[in-house]
Protein backbone atom coordinates (compact mmCIF):
# COMPACT_ATOMS: atom_id res chain seq x y z
CA UNK A 1 0.00 0.00 0.00
CA UNK A 2 2.09 2.84 -1.20
CA UNK A 3 1.39 6.10 0.50
CA UNK A 4 3.39 9.25 0.30
CA UNK A 5 4.62 10.77 3.49
CA UNK A 6 2.86 13.76 4.92
CA UNK A 7 5.85 14.58 7.06
CA UNK A 8 7.32 18.05 6.81
CA UNK A 9 10.25 18.76 9.12
CA UNK A 10 9.09 21.32 11.67
CA UNK A 11 12.38 23.13 12.14
CA UNK A 12 16.00 23.22 11.12
CA UNK A 13 17.08 20.54 13.57
CA UNK A 14 14.39 18.14 12.38
CA UNK A 15 15.37 18.87 8.80
CA UNK A 16 19.02 18.23 9.61
CA UNK A 17 18.11 14.89 11.17
CA UNK A 18 15.70 14.03 8.37
CA UNK A 19 18.42 14.45 5.74
CA UNK A 20 20.68 12.06 7.58
CA UNK A 21 18.50 9.53 9.39
CA UNK A 22 14.83 9.96 8.52
CA UNK A 23 13.68 8.28 11.70
CA UNK A 24 11.02 10.86 12.54
CA UNK A 25 9.63 10.56 9.02
CA UNK A 26 9.66 6.81 9.33
CA UNK A 27 7.92 6.87 12.71
CA UNK A 28 5.27 9.23 11.46
CA UNK A 29 4.61 7.09 8.42
CA UNK A 30 4.54 3.74 10.15
CA UNK A 31 3.43 4.44 13.67
CA UNK A 32 1.04 7.36 13.17
CA UNK A 33 -0.17 7.90 9.63
CA UNK A 34 -0.22 4.24 8.64
CA UNK A 35 -3.64 3.82 6.99
CA UNK A 36 -5.61 1.13 8.81
CA UNK A 37 -8.98 -0.27 7.76
CA UNK A 38 -11.61 1.44 9.84
CA UNK A 39 -13.68 -1.69 10.44
CA UNK A 40 -11.22 -3.71 12.53
CA UNK A 41 -12.90 -5.37 15.52
CA UNK A 42 -11.45 -6.12 18.95
CA UNK A 43 -9.92 -9.40 17.78
CA UNK A 44 -7.44 -7.20 15.93
CA UNK A 45 -6.19 -5.62 19.15
CA UNK A 46 -4.34 -8.79 20.09
CA UNK A 47 -1.40 -7.83 17.88
CA UNK A 48 -0.76 -4.81 20.07
CA UNK A 49 -1.43 -6.86 23.20
CA UNK A 50 1.24 -9.33 22.07
CA UNK A 51 3.78 -6.58 21.45
CA UNK A 52 3.01 -5.32 24.95
CA UNK A 53 3.43 -8.78 26.45
CA UNK A 54 6.78 -9.28 24.70
CA UNK A 55 7.92 -6.05 26.34
CA UNK A 56 6.63 -7.16 29.75
CA UNK A 57 8.44 -10.49 29.49
CA UNK A 58 11.72 -8.95 28.38
CA UNK A 59 11.72 -6.29 31.10
CA UNK A 60 10.73 -8.62 33.95
CA UNK A 61 13.07 -11.28 32.57
CA UNK A 62 16.07 -8.96 32.64
CA UNK A 63 15.21 -8.04 36.22
CA UNK A 64 14.90 -11.69 37.27
CA UNK A 65 18.20 -12.56 35.62
CA UNK A 66 19.87 -10.05 37.97
CA UNK A 67 18.93 -12.22 40.95
CA UNK A 68 18.79 -15.72 39.50
CA UNK A 69 21.63 -18.27 39.70
CA UNK A 70 21.76 -20.91 36.95
CA UNK A 71 23.28 -23.75 38.90
CA UNK A 72 21.61 -27.03 39.81
CA UNK A 73 22.29 -26.63 43.51
CA UNK A 74 21.36 -22.95 43.70
CA UNK A 75 18.70 -22.32 41.06
CA UNK A 76 15.71 -23.46 43.12
CA UNK A 77 16.74 -21.47 46.17
CA UNK A 78 17.63 -18.42 44.11
CA UNK A 79 14.13 -18.27 42.65
CA UNK A 80 12.74 -18.55 46.17
CA UNK A 81 15.25 -15.85 47.21
CA UNK A 82 13.70 -13.61 44.56
CA UNK A 83 10.25 -14.25 45.99
CA UNK A 84 11.31 -13.76 49.61
CA UNK A 85 14.11 -11.24 49.78
CA UNK A 86 14.29 -9.10 46.64
CA UNK A 87 12.28 -5.88 46.86
CA UNK A 88 8.99 -6.53 45.07
CA UNK A 89 10.45 -9.83 43.88
CA UNK A 90 7.34 -11.89 44.52
CA UNK A 91 5.29 -9.75 42.17
CA UNK A 92 7.96 -9.33 39.49
CA UNK A 93 8.50 -13.08 39.41
CA UNK A 94 4.73 -13.70 39.28
CA UNK A 95 4.36 -11.22 36.41
CA UNK A 96 6.96 -13.16 34.44
CA UNK A 97 5.48 -16.63 34.96
CA UNK A 98 1.86 -15.54 34.70
CA UNK A 99 2.93 -13.34 31.80
CA UNK A 100 4.03 -16.42 29.87
CA UNK A 101 0.51 -17.82 30.21
CA UNK A 102 -1.13 -14.54 29.22
CA UNK A 103 1.28 -14.24 26.28
CA UNK A 104 0.21 -17.65 25.00
CA UNK A 105 -3.49 -16.95 25.61
CA UNK A 106 -3.11 -13.84 23.46
CA UNK A 107 -1.07 -15.55 20.76
CA UNK A 108 -3.63 -18.33 20.40
CA UNK A 109 -6.44 -15.78 20.02
CA UNK A 110 -4.31 -13.89 17.48
CA UNK A 111 -3.68 -17.08 15.49
CA UNK A 112 -7.30 -18.22 15.60
CA UNK A 113 -8.34 -14.76 14.47
CA UNK A 114 -6.02 -15.15 11.48
CA UNK A 115 -7.43 -18.58 10.72
CA UNK A 116 -11.02 -17.34 10.83
CA UNK A 117 -10.60 -14.20 8.77
CA UNK A 118 -8.20 -15.78 6.27
CA UNK A 119 -5.49 -13.28 7.20
CA UNK A 120 -2.86 -15.64 5.76
CA UNK A 121 -4.12 -15.40 2.18
CA UNK A 122 -2.29 -13.61 -0.64
CA UNK A 123 -0.65 -11.17 -0.42
CA UNK A 124 0.02 -11.89 3.27
CA UNK A 125 1.64 -15.35 3.16
CA UNK A 126 5.02 -14.16 4.42
CA UNK A 127 3.32 -12.22 7.19
CA UNK A 128 1.66 -15.46 8.30
CA UNK A 129 4.82 -17.54 8.01
CA UNK A 130 6.75 -15.04 10.11
CA UNK A 131 3.97 -15.34 12.67
CA UNK A 132 4.36 -19.11 12.78
CA UNK A 133 8.11 -18.66 13.23
CA UNK A 134 7.42 -16.34 16.17
CA UNK A 135 5.12 -18.98 17.64
CA UNK A 136 7.81 -21.66 17.34
CA UNK A 137 10.34 -19.34 18.99
CA UNK A 138 7.86 -18.57 21.77
CA UNK A 139 7.29 -22.25 22.43
CA UNK A 140 11.04 -22.85 22.61
CA UNK A 141 11.63 -19.86 24.88
CA UNK A 142 8.78 -20.75 27.23
CA UNK A 143 9.94 -24.34 27.47
CA UNK A 144 13.49 -23.31 28.40
CA UNK A 145 12.19 -20.74 30.85
CA UNK A 146 10.12 -23.36 32.59
CA UNK A 147 13.27 -25.38 33.26
CA UNK A 148 15.04 -22.53 35.07
CA UNK A 149 13.34 -22.73 38.52
CA UNK A 150 14.70 -26.29 38.66
CA UNK A 151 11.70 -27.82 40.33
CA UNK A 152 10.49 -31.33 39.72
CA UNK A 153 8.32 -30.30 36.76
CA UNK A 154 11.18 -28.27 35.31
CA UNK A 155 13.53 -31.20 35.42
CA UNK A 156 11.10 -33.77 34.08
CA UNK A 157 9.80 -31.46 31.38
CA UNK A 158 13.38 -30.96 30.25
CA UNK A 159 14.01 -34.69 30.32
CA UNK A 160 10.83 -35.67 28.50
CA UNK A 161 10.95 -32.96 25.85
CA UNK A 162 14.62 -33.34 25.02
CA UNK A 163 13.97 -37.08 24.70
CA UNK A 164 11.75 -36.22 21.74
CA UNK A 165 14.93 -35.64 19.76
CA UNK A 166 16.09 -39.11 20.70
CA UNK A 167 13.30 -40.54 18.56
CA UNK A 168 15.14 -39.55 15.39
CA UNK A 169 16.73 -42.70 13.91
CA UNK A 170 20.54 -43.08 14.00
CA UNK A 171 21.50 -39.48 14.80
CA UNK A 172 18.92 -39.04 17.57
CA UNK A 173 21.14 -39.99 20.48
CA UNK A 174 24.21 -37.96 19.50
CA UNK A 175 21.96 -34.93 19.02
CA UNK A 176 20.32 -35.59 22.37
CA UNK A 177 23.69 -35.59 24.13
CA UNK A 178 24.65 -32.47 22.24
CA UNK A 179 21.47 -30.71 23.36
CA UNK A 180 21.85 -31.69 26.99
CA UNK A 181 25.60 -31.40 27.22
CA UNK A 182 25.62 -34.72 29.00
CA UNK A 183 23.96 -38.08 29.23
CA UNK A 184 21.08 -36.68 31.26
CA UNK A 185 19.63 -33.28 32.00
CA UNK A 186 22.06 -31.64 34.40
CA UNK A 187 23.97 -28.48 35.16
CA UNK A 188 25.21 -28.04 31.59
CA UNK A 189 21.63 -28.24 30.35
CA UNK A 190 20.41 -25.70 32.87
CA UNK A 191 23.18 -23.26 31.95
CA UNK A 192 22.61 -23.42 28.22
CA UNK A 193 18.86 -23.14 28.67
CA UNK A 194 19.38 -20.00 30.74
CA UNK A 195 21.65 -18.54 28.07
CA UNK A 196 19.21 -19.34 25.27
CA UNK A 197 16.19 -18.25 27.28
CA UNK A 198 17.85 -14.86 27.59
CA UNK A 199 18.79 -14.74 23.91
CA UNK A 200 15.62 -15.91 22.18
CA UNK A 201 13.28 -13.07 23.22
CA UNK A 202 15.51 -10.67 21.32
CA UNK A 203 15.36 -12.94 18.30
CA UNK A 204 11.57 -12.90 18.70
CA UNK A 205 11.65 -9.11 18.83
CA UNK A 206 13.62 -9.06 15.57
CA UNK A 207 11.17 -11.40 13.85
CA UNK A 208 8.32 -9.29 15.21
CA UNK A 209 9.89 -6.30 13.45
CA UNK A 210 9.86 -8.31 10.20
CA UNK A 211 6.29 -9.39 10.94
CA UNK A 212 5.21 -5.76 11.23
CA UNK A 213 7.18 -4.83 8.15
CA UNK A 214 5.40 -7.60 6.24
CA UNK A 215 2.13 -6.24 7.62
CA UNK A 216 2.80 -2.70 6.49
CA UNK A 217 3.50 -3.65 2.89
CA UNK A 218 0.02 -4.99 1.99
CA UNK A 219 -1.65 -3.30 4.97
CA UNK A 220 -4.04 -4.89 7.45
CA UNK A 221 -6.62 -7.39 6.42
CA UNK A 222 -10.04 -6.71 7.96
CA UNK A 223 -13.21 -8.54 9.04
CA UNK A 224 -14.81 -8.37 5.59
CA UNK A 225 -11.69 -9.62 3.87
CA UNK A 226 -12.26 -7.03 1.13
CA UNK A 227 -9.08 -5.10 0.38
CA UNK A 228 -8.90 -1.39 1.06
CA UNK A 229 -10.13 0.42 -2.07
CA UNK A 230 -9.64 4.07 -1.17
CA UNK A 231 -8.64 6.32 1.66
CA UNK A 232 -12.32 6.37 2.65
CA UNK A 233 -11.85 2.84 3.94
CA UNK A 234 -9.07 3.71 6.33
CA UNK A 235 -8.20 5.82 9.33
CA UNK A 236 -4.70 6.83 10.46
CA UNK A 237 -3.27 4.39 12.97
CA UNK A 238 -2.77 7.19 15.46
CA UNK A 239 -4.84 8.15 17.37
CA UNK A 240 -7.62 5.80 16.31
CA UNK A 241 -5.93 2.47 16.79
CA UNK A 242 -3.27 3.53 19.27
CA UNK A 243 -6.02 4.49 21.70
CA UNK A 244 -8.21 1.50 20.91
CA UNK A 245 -5.26 -0.87 21.33
CA UNK A 246 -4.25 0.83 24.56
CA UNK A 247 -7.79 0.38 25.87
CA UNK A 248 -7.62 -3.31 24.96
CA UNK A 249 -4.22 -3.68 26.64
CA UNK A 250 -5.53 -2.15 29.87
CA UNK A 251 -8.55 -4.48 29.83
CA UNK A 252 -6.23 -7.43 29.14
CA UNK A 253 -4.19 -6.43 32.20
CA UNK A 254 -7.18 -6.94 34.51
CA UNK A 255 -7.28 -10.78 34.41
CA UNK A 256 -3.47 -10.66 34.20
CA UNK A 257 -3.29 -8.70 37.46
CA UNK A 258 -5.93 -10.94 39.00
CA UNK A 259 -3.69 -13.96 38.57
CA UNK A 260 -0.45 -12.18 39.46
CA UNK A 261 -1.68 -10.75 42.75
CA UNK A 262 -4.31 -13.20 43.93
CA UNK A 263 -3.38 -16.58 42.48
CA UNK A 264 0.19 -16.44 41.15
CA UNK A 265 0.62 -20.21 41.28
CA UNK A 266 -2.76 -21.30 39.96
CA UNK A 267 -1.50 -21.60 36.38
CA UNK A 268 1.47 -23.69 37.45
CA UNK A 269 1.86 -27.01 39.16
CA UNK A 270 2.56 -27.62 42.89
CA UNK A 271 5.25 -30.19 42.05
CA UNK A 272 7.45 -27.43 40.72
CA UNK A 273 7.87 -26.26 44.32
CA UNK A 274 9.77 -29.48 44.98
CA UNK A 275 13.41 -29.24 44.03
CA UNK A 276 14.46 -31.26 40.99
CA UNK A 277 15.31 -34.86 41.78
CA UNK A 278 16.58 -37.08 39.01
CA UNK A 279 15.74 -40.20 41.04
CA UNK A 280 12.00 -39.61 41.47
CA UNK A 281 9.43 -38.81 38.79
CA UNK A 282 6.26 -36.99 39.91
CA UNK A 283 3.26 -39.29 39.66
CA UNK A 284 1.50 -37.23 37.05
CA UNK A 285 3.57 -35.01 34.83
CA UNK A 286 1.87 -32.43 32.66
CA UNK A 287 3.32 -29.55 30.69
CA UNK A 288 2.16 -25.98 31.14
CA UNK A 289 -1.38 -25.53 29.85
CA UNK A 290 -0.32 -23.77 26.66
CA UNK A 291 1.53 -26.86 25.43
CA UNK A 292 -1.27 -29.29 26.24
CA UNK A 293 -2.88 -29.53 22.77
CA UNK A 294 0.45 -30.43 21.18
CA UNK A 295 1.34 -32.71 24.08
CA UNK A 296 -1.95 -34.55 23.50
CA UNK A 297 -1.00 -35.04 19.85
CA UNK A 298 2.43 -36.34 20.87
CA UNK A 299 0.83 -38.90 23.18
CA UNK A 300 -2.00 -39.87 20.83
CA UNK A 301 0.28 -41.91 18.57
CA UNK A 302 0.68 -45.12 20.57
CA UNK A 303 0.88 -47.48 17.61
CA UNK A 304 3.53 -48.27 14.99
CA UNK A 305 2.92 -46.97 11.50
CA UNK A 306 4.63 -49.45 9.14
CA UNK A 307 8.33 -49.15 9.90
CA UNK A 308 7.90 -45.99 12.03
CA UNK A 309 7.65 -46.87 15.70
CA UNK A 310 5.11 -45.19 17.93
CA UNK A 311 7.65 -42.88 19.58
CA UNK A 312 8.93 -41.49 16.29
CA UNK A 313 5.35 -41.40 15.02
CA UNK A 314 4.31 -39.23 17.95
CA UNK A 315 7.18 -36.88 17.32
CA UNK A 316 6.34 -36.65 13.61
CA UNK A 317 2.73 -35.75 14.36
CA UNK A 318 3.80 -33.35 17.09
CA UNK A 319 6.17 -31.53 14.74
CA UNK A 320 3.68 -31.85 11.89
CA UNK A 321 1.00 -30.11 13.94
CA UNK A 322 3.12 -26.98 13.94
CA UNK A 323 4.73 -27.42 10.51
CA UNK A 324 1.33 -27.70 8.85
CA UNK A 325 0.67 -24.10 9.86
CA UNK A 326 3.40 -22.95 7.47
CA UNK A 327 1.41 -24.32 4.53
CA UNK A 328 -2.01 -22.95 5.46
CA UNK A 329 -1.86 -20.12 2.87
CA UNK A 330 -1.67 -22.74 0.12
CA UNK A 331 -3.87 -25.38 1.73
CA UNK A 332 -6.84 -23.05 1.90
CA UNK A 333 -8.13 -22.85 -1.68
CA UNK A 334 -11.08 -20.55 -1.08
CA UNK A 335 -11.12 -17.34 -3.09
CA UNK A 336 -13.01 -15.64 -0.28
CA UNK A 337 -10.79 -14.40 2.50
CA UNK A 338 -13.04 -13.85 5.50
CA UNK A 339 -14.77 -16.76 7.20
CA UNK A 340 -17.77 -14.50 7.77
CA UNK A 341 -18.80 -15.04 4.16
CA UNK A 342 -18.23 -18.78 4.17
CA UNK A 343 -21.29 -20.52 5.66
CA UNK A 344 -19.93 -24.07 5.67
CA UNK A 345 -16.39 -23.09 6.65
CA UNK A 346 -17.72 -21.60 9.87
CA UNK A 347 -18.95 -24.98 11.06
CA UNK A 348 -15.63 -26.64 10.42
CA UNK A 349 -13.79 -23.70 11.94
CA UNK A 350 -15.68 -23.66 15.22
CA UNK A 351 -15.40 -27.43 15.40
CA UNK A 352 -11.65 -26.95 14.99
CA UNK A 353 -11.59 -24.47 17.86
CA UNK A 354 -13.59 -26.80 20.10
CA UNK A 355 -11.35 -29.66 19.03
CA UNK A 356 -8.27 -27.64 20.02
CA UNK A 357 -9.73 -26.97 23.48
CA UNK A 358 -10.55 -30.66 23.75
CA UNK A 359 -6.96 -31.52 22.85
CA UNK A 360 -5.80 -29.22 25.66
CA UNK A 361 -8.06 -31.03 28.07
CA UNK A 362 -6.87 -34.42 26.83
CA UNK A 363 -3.25 -33.33 27.19
CA UNK A 364 -3.84 -32.89 30.89
CA UNK A 365 -5.96 -36.00 31.38
CA UNK A 366 -4.31 -39.30 32.28
CA UNK A 367 -3.68 -41.44 29.20
CA UNK A 368 -6.23 -44.09 30.04
CA UNK A 369 -9.76 -45.22 29.24
CA UNK A 370 -11.86 -43.07 26.95
CA UNK A 371 -9.17 -40.34 26.82
CA UNK A 372 -6.93 -42.50 24.65
CA UNK A 373 -9.55 -42.90 21.95
CA UNK A 374 -10.65 -39.27 22.16
CA UNK A 375 -7.04 -38.12 21.74
CA UNK A 376 -6.77 -40.07 18.51
CA UNK A 377 -10.02 -38.66 17.14
CA UNK A 378 -9.11 -35.09 18.13
CA UNK A 379 -5.62 -35.46 16.62
CA UNK A 380 -7.14 -36.81 13.45
CA UNK A 381 -9.52 -33.86 13.14
CA UNK A 382 -6.68 -31.40 13.75
CA UNK A 383 -4.94 -32.69 10.62
CA UNK A 384 -8.13 -33.33 8.63
CA UNK A 385 -9.04 -29.68 9.06
CA UNK A 386 -5.82 -28.47 7.49
CA UNK A 387 -5.13 -31.23 4.98
CA UNK A 388 -8.64 -32.11 3.75
CA UNK A 389 -11.25 -29.56 4.80
CA UNK A 390 -9.37 -26.39 3.84
CA UNK A 391 -8.24 -27.63 0.37
CA UNK A 392 -11.59 -29.15 -0.59
CA UNK A 393 -14.01 -26.68 0.94
CA UNK A 394 -12.78 -23.86 -1.29
CA UNK A 395 -13.87 -25.85 -4.33
CA UNK A 396 -17.36 -26.84 -3.20
CA UNK A 397 -18.57 -24.04 -0.97
CA UNK A 398 -20.73 -21.20 -2.27
CA UNK A 399 -19.73 -18.08 -0.36
CA UNK A 400 -22.12 -15.30 0.54
CA UNK A 401 -22.03 -12.14 -1.48
CA UNK A 402 -19.15 -9.86 -0.58
CA UNK A 403 -19.52 -6.12 -0.05
CA UNK A 404 -17.78 -4.13 -2.77
CA UNK A 405 -15.80 -2.12 -0.25
CA UNK A 406 -15.18 -1.67 3.44
CA UNK A 407 -17.14 1.58 3.44
CA UNK A 408 -20.14 -0.09 1.85
CA UNK A 409 -20.05 -2.88 4.39
CA UNK A 410 -19.82 -0.38 7.21
CA UNK A 411 -22.83 1.57 5.99
CA UNK A 412 -24.90 -1.52 5.35
CA UNK A 413 -24.41 -2.59 8.92
CA UNK A 414 -25.09 0.77 10.47
CA UNK A 415 -28.52 -0.66 11.06
CA UNK A 416 -28.11 -3.48 13.55
CA UNK A 417 -28.11 -6.97 12.12
CA UNK A 418 -29.70 -9.66 14.19
CA UNK A 419 -27.69 -12.70 15.12
CA UNK A 420 -24.55 -11.56 13.41
CA UNK A 421 -21.43 -13.44 14.34
CA UNK A 422 -18.59 -11.74 16.17
CA UNK A 423 -16.74 -11.48 12.90
CA UNK A 424 -18.83 -8.53 11.95
CA UNK A 425 -18.93 -7.17 15.45
CA UNK A 426 -19.28 -3.46 15.56
CA UNK A 427 -20.84 -0.76 17.55
CA UNK A 428 -23.19 1.71 16.07
CA UNK A 429 -23.34 5.10 17.56
Amino acid sequence: MAHESSYVPGNAVEKWIDDRLPIIRWSKEHLMDYPTPKNLNYWWTFGAILAFMLGVQIVTGIVLAMHYTPHVSLAFDSVEHIRRDVNGGRVIQAVHTTGASMFFAAVYIHMFRGLYFGSYKAPREILWILGVIIFVLMVTTAFMGYVLPWGQMSFWAATVITNIVGAIPVIGNPILELLRGGFAVDNATLNRFFSLHYLLPFVIAAVVALHIWALHVPGNSNPTGVEVKSSRDTVPFHPYYTMKDLFAIVVFCIPFAWFVFFAPDILGHPDNYIMANSQVTPTHIVPEWYFLPFYAILRAIDFNIFFIDSKLGGVIFFAGAILVLFFVPWLDTSKVRSGSFRPIFKWFYWLFVANFVLLAYLGSAPAEGIFVLLSKIATAYYFIYFLIVLPLLGRFETPRELPTSISESVLKHSTPVGGADPALAKTTH
Binding site: V59, V63, H67, D85, N87, G88, L246, S414
Partner: protein, 180 residues
Protein backbone atom coordinates in the same frame (compact mmCIF):
# COMPACT_ATOMS: atom_id res chain seq x y z
CA UNK B 1 -23.85 10.28 11.23
CA UNK B 2 -23.45 11.75 7.78
CA UNK B 3 -23.24 9.15 5.08
CA UNK B 4 -20.11 10.31 3.34
CA UNK B 5 -18.12 11.37 6.30
CA UNK B 6 -14.50 10.66 6.30
CA UNK B 7 -13.08 12.69 9.07
CA UNK B 8 -10.47 10.15 9.63
CA UNK B 9 -7.65 11.94 7.97
CA UNK B 10 -8.34 15.15 9.72
CA UNK B 11 -6.04 15.93 12.52
CA UNK B 12 -6.74 14.67 15.99
CA UNK B 13 -9.53 16.29 17.95
CA UNK B 14 -9.90 20.00 18.32
CA UNK B 15 -9.06 21.47 21.69
CA UNK B 16 -12.05 22.31 23.87
CA UNK B 17 -14.50 20.28 25.86
CA UNK B 18 -12.74 17.03 25.17
CA UNK B 19 -9.55 18.19 26.75
CA UNK B 20 -10.53 17.21 30.25
CA UNK B 21 -11.02 13.58 29.30
CA UNK B 22 -7.71 13.36 27.44
CA UNK B 23 -5.82 15.07 30.22
CA UNK B 24 -7.42 12.82 32.84
CA UNK B 25 -6.62 9.68 30.86
CA UNK B 26 -3.07 10.89 30.24
CA UNK B 27 -2.55 11.72 33.90
CA UNK B 28 -3.83 8.33 35.06
CA UNK B 29 -1.65 6.66 32.44
CA UNK B 30 1.37 8.58 33.74
CA UNK B 31 0.59 7.40 37.28
CA UNK B 32 0.48 3.86 35.93
CA UNK B 33 3.85 4.19 34.23
CA UNK B 34 5.38 5.61 37.41
CA UNK B 35 3.78 2.85 39.47
CA UNK B 36 5.35 0.22 37.25
CA UNK B 37 8.72 1.93 36.96
CA UNK B 38 9.39 2.31 40.67
CA UNK B 39 9.33 -1.41 41.59
CA UNK B 40 11.59 -2.13 38.61
CA UNK B 41 14.14 0.35 39.97
CA UNK B 42 13.61 -0.53 43.63
CA UNK B 43 14.46 -4.17 42.99
CA UNK B 44 18.04 -3.00 42.41
CA UNK B 45 18.29 -1.86 46.04
CA UNK B 46 19.88 -4.15 48.63
CA UNK B 47 17.49 -7.02 49.31
CA UNK B 48 16.17 -8.15 52.68
CA UNK B 49 18.89 -10.74 53.22
CA UNK B 50 21.58 -8.10 52.65
CA UNK B 51 19.87 -5.52 54.88
CA UNK B 52 19.57 -8.12 57.64
CA UNK B 53 23.36 -8.12 57.86
CA UNK B 54 23.69 -4.33 57.74
CA UNK B 55 24.02 -4.36 61.50
CA UNK B 56 25.94 -7.07 63.35
CA UNK B 57 26.80 -7.78 66.96
CA UNK B 58 30.26 -8.92 67.89
CA UNK B 59 31.47 -10.46 71.13
CA UNK B 60 34.80 -8.94 72.22
CA UNK B 61 35.42 -11.22 75.17
CA UNK B 62 37.64 -13.62 73.23
CA UNK B 63 40.21 -11.02 72.19
CA UNK B 64 43.21 -10.73 74.49
CA UNK B 65 45.08 -7.50 75.02
CA UNK B 66 47.44 -6.88 72.14
CA UNK B 67 45.39 -9.10 69.86
CA UNK B 68 43.58 -8.04 66.77
CA UNK B 69 40.89 -9.76 64.68
CA UNK B 70 39.40 -8.95 61.32
CA UNK B 71 35.68 -9.41 60.98
CA UNK B 72 33.34 -8.93 58.03
CA UNK B 73 30.72 -6.20 58.11
CA UNK B 74 28.65 -5.18 55.06
CA UNK B 75 31.11 -7.09 52.93
CA UNK B 76 34.06 -5.05 54.24
CA UNK B 77 36.91 -6.20 56.48
CA UNK B 78 36.83 -4.52 59.90
CA UNK B 79 39.78 -4.46 62.34
CA UNK B 80 38.91 -4.96 65.98
CA UNK B 81 42.04 -4.34 68.07
CA UNK B 82 42.44 -4.73 71.78
CA UNK B 83 45.12 -2.12 72.35
CA UNK B 84 47.77 -2.33 75.01
CA UNK B 85 48.17 0.46 77.54
CA UNK B 86 51.40 1.46 75.79
CA UNK B 87 49.66 1.84 72.43
CA UNK B 88 46.91 3.96 73.98
CA UNK B 89 49.43 6.19 75.71
CA UNK B 90 51.43 6.55 72.51
CA UNK B 91 48.35 7.49 70.52
CA UNK B 92 47.16 10.00 73.10
CA UNK B 93 50.58 11.65 73.25
CA UNK B 94 50.69 12.62 69.58
CA UNK B 95 50.15 16.37 69.11
CA UNK B 96 47.41 17.19 66.58
CA UNK B 97 49.86 19.32 64.65
CA UNK B 98 51.75 16.16 63.63
CA UNK B 99 48.70 14.78 61.94
CA UNK B 100 47.72 14.98 58.30
CA UNK B 101 44.04 14.36 59.22
CA UNK B 102 43.83 15.74 62.76
CA UNK B 103 41.75 13.64 65.14
CA UNK B 104 42.34 12.96 68.82
CA UNK B 105 42.52 9.43 70.14
CA UNK B 106 39.31 10.15 72.12
CA UNK B 107 37.51 10.92 68.88
CA UNK B 108 38.53 7.55 67.50
CA UNK B 109 37.37 5.45 70.45
CA UNK B 110 34.36 5.30 72.76
CA UNK B 111 34.72 6.76 76.29
CA UNK B 112 35.39 4.05 78.83
CA UNK B 113 36.36 1.63 76.07
CA UNK B 114 39.61 3.25 74.94
CA UNK B 115 41.30 -0.14 74.63
CA UNK B 116 39.05 -1.03 71.68
CA UNK B 117 39.88 0.32 68.28
CA UNK B 118 37.33 -0.62 65.60
CA UNK B 119 38.05 0.52 62.05
CA UNK B 120 37.19 -0.38 58.48
CA UNK B 121 40.30 -2.14 57.23
CA UNK B 122 40.62 -0.49 53.86
CA UNK B 123 43.48 1.95 53.28
CA UNK B 124 42.01 5.35 52.50
CA UNK B 125 44.35 5.64 49.55
CA UNK B 126 43.13 2.97 47.14
CA UNK B 127 41.45 0.40 49.34
CA UNK B 128 44.08 -2.26 50.12
CA UNK B 129 43.99 -3.95 53.52
CA UNK B 130 46.92 -2.66 55.63
CA UNK B 131 49.12 -5.04 57.61
CA UNK B 132 48.87 -4.82 61.41
CA UNK B 133 51.67 -4.18 63.95
CA UNK B 134 53.98 -2.78 61.36
CA UNK B 135 55.00 0.47 59.79
CA UNK B 136 56.94 3.33 61.33
CA UNK B 137 54.29 4.29 63.91
CA UNK B 138 53.47 0.99 65.70
CA UNK B 139 50.20 0.74 63.85
CA UNK B 140 49.42 -0.43 60.37
CA UNK B 141 51.33 -0.37 57.12
CA UNK B 142 49.73 -0.60 53.71
CA UNK B 143 52.00 -2.63 51.44
CA UNK B 144 50.36 -1.44 48.23
CA UNK B 145 51.62 2.13 48.19
CA UNK B 146 53.38 2.57 51.51
CA UNK B 147 50.96 4.36 53.80
CA UNK B 148 51.78 4.24 57.54
CA UNK B 149 49.06 4.43 60.22
CA UNK B 150 49.65 4.88 63.93
CA UNK B 151 48.22 2.97 66.87
CA UNK B 152 44.96 4.91 66.59
CA UNK B 153 44.71 4.14 62.86
CA UNK B 154 45.61 7.70 61.87
CA UNK B 155 47.53 8.37 58.69
CA UNK B 156 51.05 9.49 59.44
CA UNK B 157 53.05 8.96 56.29
CA UNK B 158 52.42 7.97 52.70
CA UNK B 159 49.86 8.76 49.98
CA UNK B 160 46.68 8.03 51.94
CA UNK B 161 44.78 11.26 52.65
CA UNK B 162 42.61 10.22 55.60
CA UNK B 163 42.69 8.20 58.78
CA UNK B 164 41.26 4.68 58.63
CA UNK B 165 37.48 5.07 58.60
CA UNK B 166 35.48 4.24 61.72
CA UNK B 167 32.22 2.34 61.17
CA UNK B 168 29.21 3.46 63.19
CA UNK B 169 29.21 1.30 66.30
CA UNK B 170 28.19 1.30 69.93
CA UNK B 171 28.83 -0.81 72.99
CA UNK B 172 25.80 -2.85 74.02
CA UNK B 173 27.76 -4.03 77.07
CA UNK B 174 31.44 -4.11 78.01
CA UNK B 175 32.05 -7.14 75.87
CA UNK B 176 29.40 -6.78 73.17
CA UNK B 177 29.65 -4.27 70.36
CA UNK B 178 27.03 -3.51 67.75
CA UNK B 179 28.45 -2.40 64.43
CA UNK B 180 26.19 -0.66 61.91
Amino acid sequence: MATQSNLAHQDAPQPGRRDFLYIAAGAVGAVGVAGVTWPLINQLNPDASVLALASIEFDLSGIEEGQSVTIKWRGLPVFVRHRTAAEIAEAQAVPLSDLKDPETDEQRTKPGHEQWLIMIANCTHLGCVPVGESGDFDGWFCPCHGSHYDSAGRIRKGPAPKNLVLPPYEFVSDTLVKIG
